[in-house]
């Protein structure tokens, strides 16, 4: 189809219409339909709680992968520390759940009792309020991303240096959270969340509700990010990814562009963290381990970067395999993951999207081949 567009003189003055950008991407439409199907199955068939919970977690990991693909695939910035923003969302959510339980039951959370305290630390104030907690999670991850991104991008720290520093940042955060005097659970983390919005955690309604919320958030994130990358900002992102100096010499300040997308990506990762914690019932500093952050990049690489849908496929495929294999043979999982990376890098440079000629068009950016 692109061949026809190349050879035929087309009216150059007419800009292609870009309404509802996600409609032009068959991969994305397919994934959105699958999400819808999953929602219908959850509501209609009422599968076992284990299955519901798995679907919800996979949706969360897909959101996390999309957040990384947004900056890696479209801006060329590889973060090996995205677990930090995921953890910020997760910790704030856990704080909300514990505050909520404390005010409802009057029983102080475990770590408060361990530390010999009577009440929660002062900075927990107001976290019983769910909208405030959500706001705090977004604002905090956005602010941390802003400070780190501003310092890096303004000094033109790019490429592998940025990746290494982002990795160091998540490691530092892990060391901090291992301390028991932070008032955030220390090395045991936080667990034992009895209630969600007053409903008992673990009930079928809450589990299904969380899975539906995660699927809905994934769909919203996909549609939103797709609209972003298909528009003028998305073209600038690709230009910046491929030749930042060139873009600067055409009169565009790239620092602001990178910083904005970086903060947005961090906030999407935090949203994933918020949805993750009530589904697994625990948050601890392990989430900040550098290998988890690297694994996010592996999901994206395996699925295929720079197409959003690829990140979803990678996150779901790898984690579904992980749920199955890490139960069947946990000690083999790291080797399987490494092997998978090697195979994908050598055989499918664009990830699983290379498979089955899913790349119907060689031009993954262009959304209407026959225009």
């Amino acid at each position: 189809m692109s061949g026809a567009a190349d050879s035929l003189p087309s009216p150059v003055n007419a800009r292609p219409r870009r309404s509802a950008a996600w409609l032009h991407e068959p991969l994305l439409v397919g994934i959105l339909l699958l999400i819808l199907a999953a929602c219908l199955v959850l509501v209609g068939l009422k599968p076992a709680p284990y299955v519901v919970n798995t679907i919800g977690q996979l949706a969360v990991f897909a959101i996390l992968a999309v957040s990384l693909d947004l900056i890696w695939g479209y801006l060329g910035i590889l973060s090996l520390g995205h677990g930090l923003f995921f953890a910020i969302g997760g910790y704030v959510c856990a704080m909300h759940l514990l505050s909520h339980a404390f005010s409802a039951t009057g029983v102080a959370p475990d770590f408060v009792q361990f530390m010999g305290w009577k009440t929660l630390p002062a900075y927990w104030a107001g976290l019983t309020n769910a909208p405030y907690a959500l706001f705090l999670a977004m604002a905090l991850s956005g602010a941390v991303a802003f400070v780190f991104g501003f310092a890096s991008f303004r000094s033109r720290v790019n490429g592998v240096y940025f990746s290494i520093i982002s990795q160091a940042l998540v490691y530092v955060a892990m060391l901090l959270m291992f301390r028991n005097d932070t008032g955030l659970g220390g090395n045991n983390g936080m667990t034992g969340f009895p209630l969600l919005f007053g409903y008992p955690m673990g009930s079928a309604a809450v589990t299904t509700g969380l899975a539906l919320a995660s699927l809905g958030a994934l769909a919203a994130v996909l549609v939103g990010t797709r609209a972003l990358v298909a528009g003028r900002i998305g073209r600038r992102m690709l230009a910046c990814r491929d030749d930042e100096t060139r873009l600067r010499t055409l009169g565009y300040g790239t620092t602001r562009l990178k910083l904005g997308i970086w903060c947005l990506s961090a906030m999407i990762a935090a949203l994933a963290g918020v949805l993750y914690v009530p589904q697994v019932g625990i948050i601890n500093p392990r989430v900040l381990a550098p290998d988890l952050s690297i694994e996010i990049a592996v999901w994206v690489a395996i699925g295929g970067m720079g197409r959003l849908g690829g990140a979803v496929i990678g996150a779901v495929a790898v984690n579904a395999l992980k749920f199955w294999l890490s139960a069947a043979m946990p000690e083999a999982w790291p080797f399987i993951l490494s092997g998978l990376v090697l195979v994908v890098v050598l055989a499918l440079p664009n990830g699983l999207l290379d498979f089955a000629s899913l790349r119907t068009k060689p031009t993954w950016l262009r959304n209407g081949g026959g225009r």
Binding site: S2, A5, D6, S7, P9, S10, V12, N13, A14, R15, R235, R236, L238, A239, R241, D242, D243, T245, R246, L247, R248, T249, L250, G251, Y252, G253, T254, T363, L365, R366, R371
Partner: protein, 236 residues
């Protein structure tokens, strides 16, 4: 008055002096060629003018008041100084049209954008390729597209780094005609080039650089007759 005044530039990379007290004045309306052997400092000069390299000393005055040596790359571009790189630097993941759209700059109103892009497409002769990906273009087409990206913003100063490197004779001729057509009374064009026949075809004056200093400035005929220029170009 000069459109662009380069005033006593010193550029040092570690212990290597790339430019030494280099001065150069380019007038509005002229096409100036900068020639010289490899390592003479030609590309470094363009890097300083476009803000990629900061000089140790010296000024680059645009008009009376603006010192480009103190501006960011984006600020310099917004002031009307645009550059084509030696290696064609088009954005491969975007179409020709989208590349030109970015070349127009962020400030151009949407209503004028389509007309401007259409005009530039005509000037560079790439209308049939408007919706092809820039990464799929032939080398010569990339060179013209990059010149088009520079033109989109209607710049006062155009810097062209080796616009005919790697082109066939026919393409070189077409590029020469394109550059001659870009000449305007309110615009200065600086071209770096190795191809002497091409320089003679387009340039009003030439500046010969050698080891970071100006060796000669004047007409091409004078350059060919200058003893020092001959010595530098024919080797020692």
């Amino acid at each position: 008055m000069s459109a662009l005044l380069v005033d006593k530039l010193d550029v040092v990379f570690g212990r290597f002096r790339a430019l030494t007290a280099l001065s150069l004045a380019v007038d509005a309306g002229e096409v100036r060629a900068v020639i010289g052997p490899n390592g003479a400092g030609k590309t470094t000069l363009l890097d300083v003018i476009s803000g990629i390299t900061k000089p140790l000393r010296g000024r680059v005055m645009l008009g009376d008041s603006l010192d480009l040596a103190k501006c960011s790359e984006a600020g310099i571009a917004k002031a009307g100084v645009r550059r084509k790189f030696q290696k064609p630097s088009v954005f491969p993941a975007l179409t020709v049209y989208e590349n030109l759209d970015i070349g127009c700059g962020a400030g151009l109103p949407a209503s004028e954008r389509a007309a401007r892009i259409g005009a530039v497409l005509g000037e560079i002769g790439l209308e049939p390729r408007a919706h092809a990906l820039a990464g799929a273009l032939a080398h010569g087409e990339k060179q013209w597209l990059e010149i088009g990206m520079v033109l989109g913003s209607n710049p006062r100063i155009i810097l062209l780094d080796e616009p005919v490197a790697g082109l066939s004779d026919a393409e070189t001729e077409r590029t020469a005609a394109l550059i001659r057509a870009l000449r305007r009374p309110d615009r200065a064009i600086v071209v770096i080039e190795h191809d002497m026949a091409f320089v003679e075809a387009i340039a009003d004056r030439v500046t010969v650089l050698h080891e970071g200093r100006t060796l000669y400035e004047g007409g091409m005929r004078g350059a060919r007759a200058d003893a020092r220029v001959i010595e530098v170009f024919l080797g020692r």
